[in-house]
């Protein structure tokens, strides 16, 4: 899975916008959107929010968790705990990136938030690497990881699976059967 595909999925998350135009309900396959009243918050998918934002048709209201204080708390908790802590949004990384890239002017303390989310991400990825490491060194058959987001799984998937495959190959080469073949 490509990160861009994950991002695509993340764009289905809803976010509140304050439109500056007036439009009746829009009937789409994915569901009805609107009605859009100027000045009145309305929930729309991120893709639409960004589109409207780029056309300067709305202001985006940052999600509740996208707040420096809250993220700081999460970061502290993430650093304190050994396991993965629950994250406010399953697409926190993608949403942060999307919203901050396109609507930084609507988000208070955008830079701070960017740093905080990056910190959280780094902490979690480090944990992920660590657990992958212990998984491999202890030669466990299965492992369970809670509260991982799609993007996080996606970053480690190829690497972990490939390395496991190679290790399996290497190990099976060490098997007695294959050892015999070396004897020939």
């Amino acid at each position: 899975m490509d990160p861009s595909e994950v991002e695509f999925l993340a764009e289905k998350e809803t976010v509140k916008i304050i439109p500056n135009f007036s439009l009746d309900k829009v009937y789409l396959i994915g569901g009805d959107l609107g009605p859009f009243n100027p000045g009145l918050p309305v929930s729309v998918p991120v893709w639409l929010a960004l589109n409207l934002k780029q056309r300067q048709k709305c202001r985006i209201v940052p999600p509740e968790w996208m707040d420096a204080d809250k993220l700081e708390e999460i970061r502290e908790l993430e650093r304190k705990e050994d396991t993965f802590t629950p994250i406010p949004s399953p697409h926190y990384m993608e949403l942060t990136k999307l919203l901050l890239n396109h609507a930084a002017d609507n988000i208070p303390k955008a830079d701070e938030i960017r740093t905080l989310v990056k910190d959280i991400w780094d902490t979690r990825i480090a944990k992920l690497r660590l657990s992958a490491d212990s998984f491999i060194t202890q030669q466990e058959a299965h492992a369970k990881l809670d509260n991982l987001t799609l993007m996080e799984i996606n970053t480690t998937r190829t690497f972990l699976l490939d390395s496991l495959k190679y290790m399996y190959k290497l190990r099976s080469n060490l098997q007695p059967g294959s050892g015999k073949s070396q004897d020939y």
Partner: protein
């Protein structure tokens, strides 16, 4: 007598504080751990002057323009008072000073420090210092002897020492205190105090206060009380020296009469925080105290004995002989003073209050909440508000005149009655206070106007919610405009006049089509704009001269009129202008507001003539405006939203209590708009304040409306609330239509449908609860068609008595309806003036009758019936149209007429209603299933024979004869009806029907089924056939019997479905109604009864069974109110 504890107020950030009065008692001076010294003009001062003296201030002393503070930079410094300019450093320690004291002449300052030293410094020459060494721990407190001889000090080493200052020697010491390592660890601050006469030294020791005698230094007595549960922190002497007050760590305050050793006063800190600073007002009436949370409190009216002593001492020449009236005047003066001071410095005052978000009571949009706060707290102390206010006013008197203590003492018994409330100031709705540097000047449904007034910029930002209206604007605000309103057309700004400049009104008419967008108007000198508003095509400004000046939006001066009182708020919407003003003086926290609602446009009139505005108890007006639909609405400071109920004689109905939605007591909702459909209260949630800050940009939230009905936890209550809310929030339809606006008929029908549904639900609920009388009451509110549903419900739940009564009710309603229609027709015939009034009345009643049938759609399953009925109803206008000869009337009505049609088409699913090709559909080539009654019936009856197919027309003219019922099988009848609409697709079936029908004509067919339906008379087709037989025969004389019938069938089919139904129903009504019924027996009973009784009175209940499609065969039950017209048309009645 008990003293009054005034509510605590926020003074400093959390931490140690100290307090004192200046010599005259005019100012309260506090210092705190934020390093500031604040100078309060009484407890109610919202804008104390702040002097920064360091990072932290530990203690302060004040004497004649000298403010001595102990700050965290280890110094004891002097500032001038009250200006606050630094005036040098008195002395330094190696660590911070813990306490400072100044002697009564102000010549010496003593300070104790954390480095175990006590220093006594000459103020005039700081080099003359005396250092008192001997304490073995940080010094807690120092106290200078009034006679300048001794100095007492207490220390953390547990000792209290008395020093002879000149000799710098310790005279005596007592080891009475608990030892501790530092001031912060000490159990008590152990503030010592000398009696003003110097005779006694008071030392707080544990729970008691020990008194030591001068010179002998022996322990004289000990003052204690059970009330004090924790160590005493501070003691102070009253100015007269007779009383001693102590404040404890537990927040208890006690006052003793020292001679009698009697505790005369006990007060508890409202939150139980540690009292760490106390000061006695020089007049002896008040004690100010501060706590370790940085709050300042005041005990008022402490011990009158002392005060009166004071009085006799200090003010022997007071106005003892003044009579009560004079006192009253004096109080009024006080009030005026206060008001004046408030109006002079609102900016400063509020600036401070704005900084403290926690204390919501202190964030005044006007001066009022503060007063109210004190009122409320007074209730706790079971003191009447009158005296409280008198105190407050007297306090002001201290400030204004130099007559301390006289006014309160004398006026207390003088006047206990209600006290006038300061009038609330004029404001613009949805604006934040004008003193803020960044504020919302207006936030309405059009846009947001923000004002900036800081060092670099004085500007106004205008932003539109909908950028389609106009792009954002940035204006410089050189005139210092404070009042703004924004509409779709223009931006209106106004400023108050200054010394040089007169008050200005500036309008930026951005929607104009010419190039000059701006116009300004200067008001006459001395007349200031107080409130402005914009309507559609006009602007209004209320001025201090009690005038309302109207302008056109282009700047033409229009009407002007006088207001009965000073304006509070003014809003416009469309052609309506709503003004709230002071109609008098409110008492005890109430405002006395009046409201006027004016309507411009075609019919200029005053809708509300200055009636009182019903505010909540002890609240003031916080917001006023119109809903998006144009209904006046206002919000008071208690958060109650009230809407004008036009259908209830312009009464105000509370529709929402915003504070109920708040999580915390200090949260508020700042209303920005009200919408009736959809029902939305748009507001901004404000945490801990009454209004939002401009940054971060606040988001609008939507609150639902909820009328404060009883028992809303029960289903009954909920339904009632919903019903009345629906009624209230749809009042605007009638208003809009009466004032000539277009209204959304569909939404209106939807609304009335919803109301009828709710009524039906309530009816069902009442039925279930066996409340038949209540059922009747509910039925009276229903429309006639819904009553029939109710009848059905009642009968199916076997409530015969109820059903019978309902039947009568239905009849009455139908009669009424008929009466209306009749009247309307008469009116139309008689009064053909085509005047607007006439038209509007007609329109209204027309709308009423039209909406009525649609109400019947209370339940889905009855849709078809209603459909049917509606078609009947639509006949009515058709009828009218025919009877009308007046082109005026026709013209005026014609735009109205088409409205029911689209509704029909969109709303109903009726197989009959395949939109037919209109009139031509009657032609044989046309569709067999013809659609609209209007289309088919109207033309045909007007000009019979003109159309290609004469047969289809002639069916209108023939006289309907009640025929001798012939036995007829039910199956045939129904089969015919069922098949009729879809014959084209079922030819074979049709043939069969025709075959079966044939015997009807010639010899009476023997009964096929031997049931109760045997008595069934002719079907509609039969009747029709009989009527038209001659015609058919005339047209084609050589037809055989079967062919005649076939021909007739064809013609009959070309009739509209309604026509056929009418025919069927008429046949039912005039022959034997029972025959067409296939319902449960009880229905028959009731309906036959009705029909027997009332068929003459044109009311006909009929039930038939018909099939629209192959799968659906639904029972029909409809009140045929318009059958009469069939008769008229057919000339039978």
């Amino acid at each position: 007598m008990p003293c009054e504890r005034r509510p605590m107020r926020y003074g400093h950030s959390e931490g140690h504080t100290d307090v004192c009065f200046d010599e005259e008692g005019k100012w309260i001076v506090t210092c705190g751990s934020d390093g500031d010294v604040r100078i309060w003009d009484g407890l109610d001062d919202d804008d104390p002057k702040s002097i920064n003296v360091g990072e932290k201030a530990y203690a302060l002393a004040l004497h004649r323009g000298r403010l001595v503070t102990a700050a965290s930079n280890n110094t004891v410094q002097i500032h001038t008072f009250p200006d606050g300019d630094p005036d040098g450093i008195l002395t330094r320690f190696t660590t911070n000073a813990t306490h400072v004291a100044i002697n009564s002449s102000g010549s010496r300052v003593a300070a104790g420090s954390g480095d175990f030293l006590v220093k006594v410094v000459e103020v005039s020459d700081s080099s003359k210092q005396k250092t008192l060494r001997g304490h073995e721990a940080p010094v807690l407190s120092v106290a200078l002897d009034p006679k300048d001889e001794f100095l007492a000090s207490s220390s953390c080493d547990g000792s209290v020492a008395v020093w002879r200052i000149d000799e710098q020697a310790r005279v005596t010491s007592w080891n009475v205190l608990q030892k501790s390592s530092d001031v912060i660890n000490s159990k008590s601050l152990c503030r010592l105090a000398w009696q003003p006469s110097g005779k006694l030294l008071a030392v707080p020791v544990g729970l008691a206060v020990q008194l030591y005698e001068r010179d002998s230094w022996s322990h004289v007595s000990s003052l204690s009380d059970d009330f004090i549960t924790k160590a005493v922190n501070v003691v102070i002497w009253s100015p007269c020296g007779k009383l001693l007050a102590a404040g404890s760590v537990g927040g208890n305050l006690a006052v003793w009469d020292v001679e009698a050793k009697l505790c005369v006063e006990r007060q508890k800190h409202e939150k139980g925080y540690t009292v760490c600073g106390m000061a006695w007002h020089p007049s002896g009436v008040q004690i100010a105290y501060t706590d370790t949370e940085g709050c300042l409190g005041l005990l008022d009216g402490v011990c009158v004995s002392s005060a009166s002593a004071q009085k006799s001492l200090k003010a022997p020449d007071t106005k003892a002989a003044k009579d009560y009236d004079a006192l009253f005047d004096e109080e009024d003066d006080g009030l005026l003073d206060e008001e004046a001071s408030e109006s002079h410095s609102p900016v400063k005052k509020n600036a401070d209050a704005e900084g403290d978000d926690e204390d919501y009571d202190m964030i005044p949009t006007t001066a009022r909440p503060r007063n109210r706060g004190s009122f409320l707290d007074d209730d706790e102390n079971s003191l009447d508000t009158g005296s409280v206010n008198v105190d407050r006013f007297s306090e002001n008197n201290f400030g204004g005149s130099a007559e301390p203590a006289t006014a309160p003492v004398k006026s207390r018994p003088a006047y206990d009655g209600p006290v006038p409330t300061p009038r609330q100031k004029a404001f613009q709705p949805s604006s934040t206070p004008a003193h803020l540097m960044h504020r919302f000047m207006v936030w309405n449904s059009v846009g947001i106007v923000r004002g900036y007034n800081d060092e670099h910029d004085n500007a106004i930002d205008v932003e539109f919610h909908d950028t389609a209206i106009h792009h954002a604007m940035h204006l410089s605000n050189s005139l210092n405009h404070t009042m703004v309103d924004l509409s779709q057309e223009a931006l209106l700004l106004a400023c108050e006049g200054t010394e040089e400049l007169s008050s200005k009104l500036q309008c930026s008419h951005f929607s104009t089509w010419d190039t000059c967008k701006e116009w300004t108007v200067d008001l006459p000198k001395g007349e200031d704009v107080c409130a402005v508003c914009l309507g559609q095509g006009w602007a209004a400004a209320a001025t201090s001269a009690l005038l309302v000046r109207l302008f056109s939006i282009g700047g033409v001066q229009r009407e002007m009129f006088s207001l009965p009182g000073p304006v509070v708020c003014m809003v416009g919407h469309g052609e309506q202008l709503l003004i709230a003003y002071h109609r008098g003086t409110g008492f005890d926290g109430e405002q006395c507001l009046g409201v006027q609602l004016l309507q411009f446009g075609r019919r200029r009139r005053q809708v509300i003539h200055g009636e009182p505005l019903p505010l909540s108890v002890k609240s003031y007006l916080a917001w006023m405006g119109f809903t998006a639909e144009g209904t006046p609405c206002f919000v008071d400071s208690e958060g109650v939203v009230r809407l004008l109920n036009r259908s209830l004689g312009n009464a105000w109905t509370p529709v929402c209590h915003t504070r109920e939605n708040c999580k915390s007591k200090s949260d508020h909702y700042w209303v920005v708009g009200v919408h009736e459909s959809p029902q939305q209260l748009r507001c901004i949630p404000c945490k801990g304040s009454r209004f939002p800050p401009t940054l971060p940009r606040p988001a609008v939230a939507i609150l639902p409306f909820k009328l404060p009905y009883c028992h809303t936890a029960t289903e009954k209550g909920q339904l009632e609330e919903q019903y009345w809310r629906s009624v209230l929030f749809h009042n605007h339809y009638s208003f809009l239509s009466s004032s000539g606006y277009e209204i959304d008929e569909e939404a209106q029908n939807q609304a009335s449908k919803e109301q009828q549904e709710l009524l039906m639900k309530m009816f069902a609920l009442a039925c279930k609860m066996e409340r038949e009388f209540r059922c009747m009451e509910l039925a009276e509110m229903m429309t006639q068609s819904v009553v029939t549903l109710a009848i059905r419900y009642a009968t199916s739940s076997r409530r015969m008595a109820l059903a019978q009564r309902l039947g009568q009710l239905a009849l009455e309603k139908a009669n009424q309806l008929q009466g209306e229609v009749q009247e309307q027709e008469d009116d139309d015939d008689e009064e053909n003036y085509g005047s607007a009034k006439q038209n509007s009345r007609f329109r209204e009643s027309c709308g009423g009758s039209r909406s009525r049938p649609s109400n019947a759609r209370a339940e889905e399953e009855y849709e078809e019936e209603v459909e049917h009925e509606e078609q009947m109803e639509t006949e009515e206008p058709a009828e009218n149209r025919r009877s009308l000869l007046n082109p005026f009337n026709k013209g005026s009505r014609s735009p109205e007429r088409p409205s029911p049609k689209p509704v029909n088409k969109e709303d109903r699913v009726n197989p009959f209603k395949v939109s037919g090709p209109g009139k031509s559909s009657a032609a044989p080539s046309g569709q067999p299933r013809v659609a609209n009654v209007l289309d088919t019936m109207t033309p045909s009856s007007r000009k019979p024979g003109a159309l290609p197919n004469p047969l289809s027309k002639q069916n209108k003219s023939p006289v309907l004869k009640p025929l001798v019922p012939r036995p007829k099988s039910k199956t045939q009848a129904t089969l015919l009806q069922m098949n009729a609409p879809k014959l084209s697709s079922k030819k074979s079936e049709k043939e069969a029907t025709v075959e079966k029908l044939r015997p009807v004509e010639v010899p009476p067919m023997p009964p096929a089924q031997d049931n109760c339906e045997n008595r069934k008379p002719k079907t509609g087709f039969q009747l029709w056939l009989e009527e038209n037989r001659k015609n058919i025969l005339a047209n084609s004389p050589d037809l055989e019997e079967t062919d005649v019938i076939k021909e007739a069938m064809g013609c009959f089919r070309q009739l509209s479905a309604e026509d056929r139904l009418v025919r069927s129903s008429v046949c039912v009504g005039f022959t034997s109604p029972v025959t067409l019924f296939i319902p449960p027996p009880q229905h028959i009973v009731i309906f036959t009864k009705y029909i027997y009784i009332y068929c003459i009175n044109i009311h006909l209940f009929y039930q038939t069974e018909t099939g629209y499609s192959g799968t659906e065969a639904r029972p029909f039950m409809v009140v045929l109110s318009s059958v009469r017209r069939c008769y008229i048309r057919t000339g039978h009645h």
